[in-house]
Symmetry: C2
Subunit: 377 residues, 2 copies
């Protein structure tokens, strides 16, 4: 029997997942853009395509009906509505929509009651970061865990030295939203862009890291760990520039009057950043990731870590951010059909790390797609 | 006989001039804002006030009729129309409106034909810079003249370390408009913010200087000098920040779409700067100025210079920029009535520097008002 998978969204990551899954399952991609679907169909004719408005929950409920599994890859602002519709339609889901809301708290009972497996945040960070935290947590008494992650262009162009793989306003909001973290056993918030540190990476040299609000489900599921942080990686200098822009008011949400119309600086300047942060076609970029866990095992101090590094693939022309995000989700899709995820409910990957075979399966899945993973344990 | 002077505009500098002239002449101030005039009248009841719309040339022609001399102190964008109206009304004028147009080329014949004396750019720079260049030019064969000028807050607040004494969009345009200068005998243009250098000043320490487009009339009247530059002074770091903002597109004049309306980033971000650059009430600030001339006298290399330094006056609560600009113009008003300026036509101060008694009169006028002038000759 061939399993059927429907992928909601044919954006950069949605398309990457469709192409990755097409050789293994019967894949249908759905998107509002027929152009995106035409491109996808040309890349792999085995992929079925369907044009639909995924902002309408009734449309989603009807579309997902015939499928064994749903993969959610809609924009974040549509994520919650889509997720709820899929659960109400009685379907299992692997999600990478990353909506701002806490889907676990809101929908866990519904998923459990319906006997569904709904896996959230199945990307690189969140995603691999969660799985690795769960893995380290099963091996030691962690007292400190930090995840560092960034997607950066090979070519560093001043002043930003940055290209946005997704909407600039989402990046800017990541720089403005206070970072929730756990410090000395208490949940605290710090402004984003704080606690700047410099790290060395063999592939790219020195990068800077600063707090952003990326822990998500971990804040609830791993609250027994006294120190938990997530930090964003950029080329050195980016953080100070963003702090400067923010402190000067360029990303203010207070409207100002410009030539008679009231506009919010953040809306205008996100457009300015859109232009400044736009990738050239097929511009080489990479994804860089480090998770470090410090703690004790049998009373002895231990430190374990994992580095992930991936580059733009010039053959398939797929960005590393799409690869590392998409391949984590497709690894979970395979794991689901292999029976490696028996749990029901809304689950984050840190909760599955002890599942026999799952962790090795995900690492092997990535490595067979040339994502470099260096686990130091 | 008491001379009568009408001052068109009762803004910061216009008010300062009215108060400075009130003890010496019969002064009338005109402005569209009755609030500004009320404040002025309270400061010195000898000042007559009159509310009028100075954007209407017919209004100006009628207002100036009874007066011996007009002082122009309207915003730059109204400057040309006002200036023309005053000449057409047959009146002499001392102007500090600094309009972008070349008034000398356009109106010199008219002023000469009417036998009028019309003195333009009577501020600090342009103004004192022009007078000093004329002075140095009468003393040596100049091969290089540079004028440095800045108005800065005492308190340096990151990121800009700057407060705008006038409209931020005018400051921003000064950073965007190419700088015209003379180099090795040829007129060239360079981007603004170029040729950054650091200078030491005994009163405030290290400042940075960069090219801006401030030479104005000097480009025509002093084109025999092979090297002429004007540079703006700021606290170190400001130039790089402005370059960063400009290169990133924050001051682009290409409209972007933000929440449905088309707006130019420069219009929105000038408003952002308006907030960031707003002076606190009575915030201490200073004006700093240096003009250097290098050349030969009797075949010997000589270097002469002049530093001007002035601080906010806490007694009168008048900003140093208003003082140094306004007192130059009031010095010229006194000089005009003393008969120190016999020339007719549209004239810039470099053309008057050889007038007997004028240079010393202007220096003495400033010094008696506690503006510090250090002439090194």
């Amino acid at each position: 029997m061939e399993y059927t998978v429907v992928i909601l969204g044919a954006g950069m990551v949605g398309s990457t997942m469709a192409r990755d899954l097409a050789g293994h399952f019967r894949v249908t991609s759905v998107d509002v853009s027929s152009a995106a679907l035409t491109t996808l169909k040309e890349a792999d004719p085995r992929i079925e395509v369907q044009v639909a408005d995924l902002s309408d929950p009734e449309v989603i409920k009807s579309i997902v009906q015939p499928f064994d599994l749903v993969v959610g890859a809609v924009p974040g602002f549509l994520g919650r509505t889509m997720f709820q519709a899929v659960l109400e339609a009685g379907k299992n889901i692997v999600d990478i929509s990353f909506p701002p809301q806490d889907l676990q708290t809101e929908f866990n009972s519904l998923a459990e009651a319906k006997g569904l497996t709904a896996l959230i945040d199945c990307g690189i960070a969140p995603g691999m970061s969660n799985l690795l935290l769960g893995f380290f947590n099963s091996r030691m008494q962690i007292h400190s865990f930090t995840c560092y992650v960034g997607g950066l262009p090979d070519v560093r162009t001043l002043p930003f030295q940055y290209k946005a793989p997704f909407s600039p306003i989402d990046v800017v909001e990541e720089y403005i939203r206070p970072a929730r973290l756990i410090r000395a056993g208490s949940r605290i918030t710090l402004p984003a862009l704080t606690e700047l540190e410099l790290l060395e990476f063999p592939e790219v040299g020195t990068l800077e890291a600063f707090n952003t609000d990326g822990l998500r489900s971990i804040l609830n599921t791993m609250s027994h760990i006294p120190n938990l942080s997530e930090k964003t990686l950029r080329y050195p200098g980016h953080c100070q520039l963003m702090q400067t822009l923010i402190s000067a008011g360029f990303f203010s949400t207070e409207p100002v009057k410009a030539n008679g119309s009231l506009v919010r600086p953040i809306d205008v300047n996100a457009q300015v950043c859109l232009a400044a942060w736009k990738k050239s076609p097929n511009e080489p970029e990479f994804t860089i990731f480090r998770a470090t866990a410090e703690g004790t095992r049998d009373g002895v101090e231990v430190k374990e870590s994992c580095d992930i590094f991936d580059r733009y693939d010039p053959e398939t022309k797929v960005a590393s951010m799409s690869r590392t995000t998409g391949f984590t989700a497709t690894a979970i899709v395979h794991a689901f059909f292999k029976g490696l995820i028996p749990q029901k409910g809304v689950l984050a990957l840190e909760q599955l790390a002890a599942n026999p075979g799952l962790f090795d399966h995900v690492l092997e899945h990535h490595r067979s797609r040339k994502v470099r993973i260096s686990l130091r344990i």
